[in-house]
Symmetry: D2
Amino acid sequence: MANDEMLFIIIHQTYELWFKQILHELNIVRGIFSQPIIQDNTPDIYNSVHRLKRISSILEVAVMQMGVLETMTPLDFLDFRDLLRPASGFQSIQFKMIEGALGLRYDQRYGKAYYLSALKPADVERVKSIEHEQSLLALINVWLERMPFVKDTEYWKHNDTGTFWKEYRQAYADSLTEGEQHNLLIFDKIFIDDNNYPADRSFSADASRNALFIMLYRDHPLLQLPYELLNILLEIDEQLSMWRHRHIHMVQRTIGKRVGTGGSSGGEYLRGAADSHYVFKELSELTSFLLPRMLLPVLPVKVISALSYGQNNG
Amino acid sequence: MANDEMLFIIIHQTYELWFKQILHELNIVRGIFSQPIIQDNTPDIYNSVHRLKRISSILEVAVMQMGVLETMTPLDFLDFRDLLRPASGFQSIQFKMIEGALGLRYDQRYGKAYYLSALKPADVERVKSIEHEQSLLALINVWLERMPFVKDTEYWKHNDTGTFWKEYRQAYADSLTEGEQHNLLIFDKIFIDDNNYPADRSFSADASRNALFIMLYRDHPLLQLPYELLNILLEIDEQLSMWRHRHIHMVQRTIGKRVGTGGSSGGEYLRGAADSHYVFKELSELTSFLLPRMLLPVLPVKVISALSYGQNNG
Amino acid sequence: MANDEMLFIIIHQTYELWFKQILHELNIVRGIFSQPIIQDNTPDIYNSVHRLKRISSILEVAVMQMGVLETMTPLDFLDFRDLLRPASGFQSIQFKMIEGALGLRYDQRYGKAYYLSALKPADVERVKSIEHEQSLLALINVWLERMPFVKDTEYWKHNDTGTFWKEYRQAYADSLTEGEQHNLLIFDKIFIDDNNYPADRSFSADASRNALFIMLYRDHPLLQLPYELLNILLEIDEQLSMWRHRHIHMVQRTIGKRVGTGGSSGGEYLRGAADSHYVFKELSELTSFLLPRMLLPVLPVKVISALSYGQNNG
Amino acid sequence: MANDEMLFIIIHQTYELWFKQILHELNIVRGIFSQPIIQDNTPDIYNSVHRLKRISSILEVAVMQMGVLETMTPLDFLDFRDLLRPASGFQSIQFKMIEGALGLRYDQRYGKAYYLSALKPADVERVKSIEHEQSLLALINVWLERMPFVKDTEYWKHNDTGTFWKEYRQAYADSLTEGEQHNLLIFDKIFIDDNNYPADRSFSADASRNALFIMLYRDHPLLQLPYELLNILLEIDEQLSMWRHRHIHMVQRTIGKRVGTGGSSGGEYLRGAADSHYVFKELSELTSFLLPRMLLPVLPVKVISALSYGQNNG
């Protein structure tokens, strides 16, 4: 009698193919950002944005194709479920490697004990080893820190009068309503008061300042693609989250609260992971510190020029 | 200077149009189920499934079109944000009415205080008034309770030897692994021990039993469309959840942690709502109590016949 | 230097996996319809609809995931294009087998010479052999012909006064505006005048009449799922067409007018195929012969009863 | 009795809202390109790409939401069809205005007579008036023509030895297989032999050369966003085509061959339009004249420098 086991297998194979391609693209992007310097006049940033957009495009398919698996009803799943043990359907090592390559560290993973128990020791090693490599998060942090136009000048010293960050802090403070005053405390902690910079953040103070600067002044040529880069990282985070949520729904509808195919109560783990595995959360939170364009400090001519194409382009 | 306010407005208008259509379809379906009896030989169930699938189809668009709003960057949003106060972008009354028409009660809503504070008194009344009507959940419960083929016979008395439910309980108990034994306690509480039926459930014991029966024997003609009906209700729940999650992401990326346009810290409310507003959760949990087809009790000929088309069809 | 060859390969692998699953589902459905009789009181039609909907769900993904390949730019394609010869990107044998299993015959294929030249002889044989099996189209035709409720009674004799088809013809004729009068000629040719029934049609006169009857009276229980069946066949046809069109666009944007990877000018073939390979076209054309419900002939009680559930369900 | 008229109306309203937003974005982009000069060091190109991507994102929704209308069956459509006359469902003036704003001219429209007959005179005027404005196509042509880095130097004289285009022509000729030799004739007609430049082309010889140059050398910073711009124009063309095809399918499934709600046989017009209304076809055809990166002429240092950011960014 025909059952849906083949569907189950085929969908997992397509997921593994997509995940393989995502890892491939991530490795290329990590290779680009592993260079000591990213030269402006190379296609490096442009290519990175292009490849990250491809990952986003693949994730869009990955979310959507969950709908195919949802055509399998719980009763149909039970017909072949016992054949699957002890392998779990969606314990995809490659997916965990993607999370690791992006920057999710073992100690940030939800339900660490469950996470370990469900994997073969060799697979734990595979995931851990990718977590010991330079993650995209770490590489982006270094890249943000060394933005050339914010180095070595008085203007960028962030805690003195008359500098950019003093000026921006004032404009930001002026923009806050009464109910938003606590935002200023967080602002100072992240952008101004380097001595008390929170130890648990993934991005350094320099990287955070430069990321915010890119978001604010992305209208200048040199910052347009860096802004696209930050934006697509947030989009990937979001899509991974959507994938986890849709995965949760699929599992709940198909398997219910009985033990999952990996010998686990998968639903709870998935929900915990979906709510906490945002790799680029700190970037996304910068949104709280933006100002409307008309309130932005006017940049010195020299800085504007450094953010522009050469004069010879007419 | 061109800004994105028009985009913001237009997207909200399209959402309100879709929500209007969803409410319209829901009202038709509620009308169908408000009849004293749903006759088998009418298109009532078929039409209900058809209209609920349309709602599902609209929700698929609603989730996806959030992507259009996400083309608005945080900086672009700030350009016109102050023009919006005090109206909030996504405080859609119609959306809350949809939740109410499906069966979400005020006392189940996440963050009740916040929920009230963000609405105009007249709108609170509108939502409350729909919650006082017969919700689809309540109507489905009544419909499930009065399934004609499970009435008035010894076979369906659920707590005596030799009846269907005793037999099913035994088969279910036999199927459980050691780690799943607690499932039997829950099984008994819901399906067997009517005196201790949990008071806080939306579905009655009769309705729960009949819903499980439909899921198990949906291969018989009379149960095929009822099964589709239960299934599409779960799908709608799931899609509403996906919509809320995508909405959360959009808000976080666009607005950050500053106060939302409705004078609210919307993100937290949305997340709470997304995790708790499952209207048909009890149906979805029935999945835990299914058995593979080959372990199902064989139904008496008389019951099978009652689930079949008339003999005159050759 | 990294290139996009892996993307190209992986996408083709996912397509082949999806096509494999589609063929699997098609074979199950063809198996169901190969039975001498489809009993009403089995889940046969219900299961067929379910599996065809799954095919539709897969095709939706297949159309959408073309977007991933479109992230490959023409210049990037040229980087590895010469490595591909002589294999062609999308000369998927499985796709042609799907077309064949549905009912596309060799002599209906667009660009037969091109079609042959681009395939290996062994693959031509594989596609031809599936075209010699009973296609889903042929099986559906037989199933439609033997609808039990339209057999052996005076009422169904289609060319006598007082019968159903005389009555329906009159109602249809009355409904036509002046500009639509030619529709009546076609109506007669297909439904009334069996002696002049067009020799080139895939569906017989009996099958066509019964298909139209199902479309008109699908509100009756026994016809609800058969109607869903006809509808999902049209949807699959439509999605295959959308896939071909999106495929065309991808090829044009990526390859241009140079010879394709299979040594072919693929674009023209694809367009021809997309415009002509509608397998269930005759079903789709029946739409022209529908009448609004209020103009439909009232069916005799005996027929209505034959389309209903048994009386014992009350 | 409930019918689907409201669905029909609501979907059309959502389409009109989306079309309104698309026109709004198109007008902003046309405004940008109406400037005498597009300065490199402004966000003009970046913003244009951003807005065109938004249009693409809206069109993706527009294609997909046709699925909601397809939940309306032909029989359900007939229930309210007569109420619609003489207004036609999808004779959207705004859609035609979008085509006109992009660059589709009246004399290129498929089925001109039908097109006119189906519109109210005032609406014909509205569409014609937008066709008399500068279309995006015309503006892009001018923008391509005035690319600053290809002006006024010997290197760019396209028909002399040792210049860029002589060199590129040679490399292109060398790359052609025997079966592709006719491509060289077309190459010469478009890029080399200005005296015989085909009169019926929308893009001038200068614009065509510069567009091809952008496609070839898009790895250089100054050409990255212009390439994205050309690419997104092709994507919009493609999506409009997909929309038309899906629209055709919806009409055929719902209305059949009877006269459409606008008193027209809409299907044929739609198919003709879908196959011929590619506004940026000439851009898409440039793909045929690309070479792999490793065969590209090496650009002079001075040109490379003009395509780069200023040296001060180090």
